[in-house]
Symmetry: C2
Subunit: 185 residues, 2 copies
């Protein structure tokens, strides 16, 4: 996608960068950039450490989902287990940790499905997608202030739930897109 | 998904809300919330006006894509035409406008594919997904400071590009998930 050796003609170059908000969760930066036409522009965006999301398949073929209340859009969502990458943490180690903490399972077989970018317009976040199989139950350990309900769907039910609008979460849809061909039994 | 008449046991209730950053693009709020266990928590999030994204199919069956540099992740992405909803703007009117401005087409046949939520952890943004068919070329008119390259992919090429990681943009993957069954010819 990038132009190899040549600079990308669409590239925007950083001229200056400043932190404009440092919260508990969100870090916001404002940069002055050089646009392709030689003019200058302003870009405001979230710095994010990255995350993982996991399609986890039980021995009976069903997939693990969570119902979790998401305050910004003010409703509960049907989504797959996911979580932020700790500083310096390996992405697979993070996926193993999140699947255990949120759903209470470990997996003997892991497949990296690739990466997705949830909101390229105003965040640098990337989410590493995994498929976890050969699960065994070990018990969950939710973080303080984390609340969720676990449920399972077959691959067909999950696909239908995207199509009828019961699943609208971007990372969950992207992970299912990548995982579904691998789940054919 | 919500519990009907009964309050959702996972719900987090707003106790206080304040604006902590108002930029040109980003509006950030910090709320104090009541958690399901009766404790209090803090939620920081982006307020976003919402957006549209359009799978646009040319008469020969090919789909319109854009290659656009996205400053936050610092690379160009392969994505479908999309844009923010103006205050009070109808979502279909917005989709018609964005398809014309960014790609230079109008469509005689529009299908609403549903909604997706790109980053439920820290933004209230929802993206309304559309399928546009029976296109005719009318010429584009990009906004000031907007730069992109247009290209086309068949539905099969687009699906393959998600699977091989050339398409990683969340809204594009979600829109393709919803549109692909309707594009079978």
């Amino acid at each position: 996608m990038s132009g190899g050796e040549r600079p990308d003609p669409l590239e925007e170059r950083e001229l200056a960068s400043e932190s404009v908000f440092e919260g508990c969760l969100l870090k916001v930066r404002r940069d002055r950039v050089l646009l392709p036409d030689g003019k200058q522009g302003v870009r405001e965006y979230i710095r994010h450490p990255g995350a993982v999301a996991i399609v986890a398949q039980l021995p009976d073929g069903r997939l693990i989902f969570e119902r979790q209340y998401r305050y910004p859009p003010r409703r509960a969502f049907l989504e797959i287990p996911a979580g932020k990458i700790d500083p310096g943490e390996d992405i697979l180690a993070c996926a193993v940790r999140e699947l255990r903490e949120e759903a209470g399972y470990r997996a003997a077989r892991w497949t990296h499905l690739g990466v997705m970018h949830p909101c390229i317009g105003y965040a640098d976040e990337r989410i590493e997608l995994f498929l976890a199989r050969d699960l065994s139950h070990v018990g969950s350990a939710l973080d303080e202030g984390e609340f969720l309900e676990l449920l399972t769907l077959t691959a067909e039910e999950a696909s239908a739930a995207v199509h009828d609008g019961r699943i609208t979460d971007g990372k969950t849809i992207a992970a299912l897109f990548r995982a579904l061909p691998l789940l054919a039994r």
